[in-house]
């Protein structure tokens, strides 16, 4: 059975202002078939910005792993990778 990829987009003010808002247009840059297999939501700041180990804003959490410096292209790439890795 397919496991859904859990995508949490940080919409804390800092992430939102620094490009995170663009990620909310995920319908425009992620394949609809993949979106169906994902659980996507915008969540409040999860303090990824307080440390430096994950890069800088905007942050996205994919299956509990934190990714920084997120762009639509990068998000699309990672989601595809994670999805295929899970359903091998």
């Amino acid at each position: 059975m397919d496991k859904k990829v859990k995508i949490k987009i940080c919409v804390g003010t800092s992430c939102f202002v620094q490009g995170g808002s663009d990620l909310l247009l995920y319908n425009d840059f992620i394949d609809p078939e993949i979106i169906e297999k994902c659980d996507i939501e915008g969540i409040s700041c999860f303090n990824a910005c307080k440390g430096h180990e994950n890069g800088s804003a905007p942050f996205v959490m994919i299956n509990d792993k934190i990714y920084g410096d997120m762009t639509p292209e990068k998000l699309n790439k990672i989601v595809i990778e994670v999805y295929h890795a899970r359903n091998k």
Binding site: G12, T13, S21, G42, C45
Partner: protein, 487 residues
């Protein structure tokens, strides 16, 4: 214009937030000269020639944020802390809104049409046949443009089957609708303030960040720190700029230190009512055309370039002006700060005298970041009875103003409306003869920014995202909000 998210805007928001953090901590005076080093540490991989220039640029961003007229008052020997002391001790002239940083300017060469390697030197040679000035010659079997003859009409580019003609642009000059950008004798950018309409298109177009807005946030911060009551009046475009509801945005603004928050849509209702009356009156007396008057950049166009259009511009006040009046009636002792997407509103505020400060959404966002306020997390404030002016929140969107006005007319059948959605060079030319062209209608809504205020220079998100958030249909956001908000 550049995409709203780019390295420059990200740096800007980082600089703003850092400066404000220090300000709120009370350490700005001692820390301000360190900020360029914090933002560009030693190991940074520079996008400009070196980290030293990057730091110098951060210094200029800080100066602009302090509201310094860089073009006039830049003194490289003077520490930022000296500038800061001046800013908090004396009142600065709020205008002009824009200023230039010649060190950042790349002195881009004049715009030119060039033929690239893609030219195959074809037999048909449509470029040669279609050039109205005989500016195409063939050298070694390939086309070349004689620049002295070229009038930059772009015909050759249109007809080339190999797409080999390149138009090299000058972004700032190209974006200015009124030709207010010029180059000095060294080739660096200068603004002709007699022509500038403070629309901010140039500052959003320059990829080097050489044209910047002088923030007026420090006078506002000082008002907030004083004991005086302060009311924020928020432009209709604010809905959709933050990941939360209007009620949450209102709470967040109060957390920054404002005593009260009033929607400018309330004043927009008065604008609609009065403009509807005026329109009916004008049509009945035989006027051929009336235009809206709420876009301050358009008002600047009329004042500085096309005074004859005063005859068609409605005399109704803008939503900001009415809202300030309403607030003063209810609360005569309060200071009023307009929070909006617009730079030209500062020009209007100076004329009006009822508005004490103007800041943008991106400056407000920096205050939220500096104070660690997460809009989506805060409690929702009561917006009060918004029933009568709810539709006026559409003033922020192209075609919204005319809709609200027409709705409030006694006899809407007499009006034939159309709209000007964004003014660039071409539309400006058309504006010059708008009272002469066989009319497209008798009521025209004019917005200088494409799409309306939600695409203004002080916005945070792309209009598309703003529209989604306004309609509350961004799945991700609403899903998360549903959890907290029981709807």
């Amino acid at each position: 214009m550049l995409e709203i998210n780019n390295q420059f805007t990200h740096l800007k928001s980082k600089v703003y937030a850092t400066v404000l953090k220090c300000f709120f901590n009370g350490t700005l005076e001692e820390d301000i000269d360190k900020i360029p080093f914090w933002i560009i540490p030693k190991d940074t991989d520079p996008s400009r020639c070196c980290i030293y220039k990057e730091r110098a640029m951060v210094r200029y961003r800080i100066l602009a944020f302090l509201g310094i007229n860089i073009e006039k008052d830049d003194d490289e020997m003077k520490p930022l802390s000296d500038y800061y002391r001046e800013v908090i001790s004396k009142q600065m002239k709020p205008l002009p809104v824009l200023t230039t940083i010649s060190t950042a300017c790349s002195a881009c060469p004049q715009d030119q049409y060039l033929i690239s390697d893609a030219c195959r030197g074809c037999y048909a040679r449509p470029c040669l046949a279609n050039c109205p000035k005989d500016a195409i010659e063939f050298i070694n079997g390939k086309a070349s443009i004689i620049q002295e003859k070229c009038i930059r009409c772009g015909k050759c580019q249109e007809v080339c089957p190999f797409n080999s003609v390149l138009h090299r642009l000058v972004p700032c000059e190209g974006s200015c609708p009124v030709d207010a950008i010029k180059k000095n004798e060294k080739g660096f950018v200068e603004i002709d303030y007699k022509k500038c309409i403070s629309c901010g298109k140039c500052s959003r177009s320059c990829p080097f960040g050489a044209i910047v807005e002088r923030s007026s946030i420090f006078p506002v911060l000082q008002i907030l720190q004083s004991k005086e009551r302060t009311t924020a009046i928020i432009a209709p475009a604010i809905d959709g700029q933050f990941p939360g509801t209007l009620g949450q945005i209102k709470t967040a603004i109060k957390m920054v230190g404002f005593d009260d928050v009033v929607e400018v849509s309330e004043g927009a209702e008065l604008t609609s009512i009065n403009e509807a009356k005026e329109l009916e009156h004008r049509i009945k007396r035989g006027d051929k055309l009336m235009s809206t008057s709420c876009c301050p950049s358009y008002v600047e166009i009329i004042e500085k370039h096309l005074p004859k259009l005063n005859a068609i511009k409605s005399d109704t006040l803008s939503p900001m002006a009415y809202t300030a009046q309403l607030v003063k009636e209810r609360d005569p002792n309060t200071k009023i700060v307009f929070i909006g997407p617009c730079l030209a509103k500062r020009v209007e505020a100076v004329k009006l005298k009822t508005v004490d400060g103007v800041i943008t959404f991106s400056e407000l966002a920096s205050m939220f970041i500096a104070k660690d306020i997460d809009v989506k997390e805060v409690q929702e404030a009561d917006l009060g009875d918004t029933h009568s002016f709810e539709d006026c929140r559409d003033f922020a969107i192209s075609e919204g103003v005319k809709g609200c006005v027409i709705k409030r007319m006694e006899d809407p059948s007499i009006v034939k409306p159309y709209n000007i959605d964004g003014i660039d060079k071409k539309v400006f030319k058309m504006l010059k003869v708008i009272d002469k062209i066989p009319s497209k209608g008798n009521f025209v809504e004019v917005m200088v920014c494409d799409g309306g205020c939600i695409n203004g220079p002080g916005t945070i998100v792309k209009p598309k995202i703003a529209m989604k958030l306004r309609n509350g249909n961004t799945q991700a956001i609403t899903k998360a909000m549903k959890k907290e908000r029981l709807y």
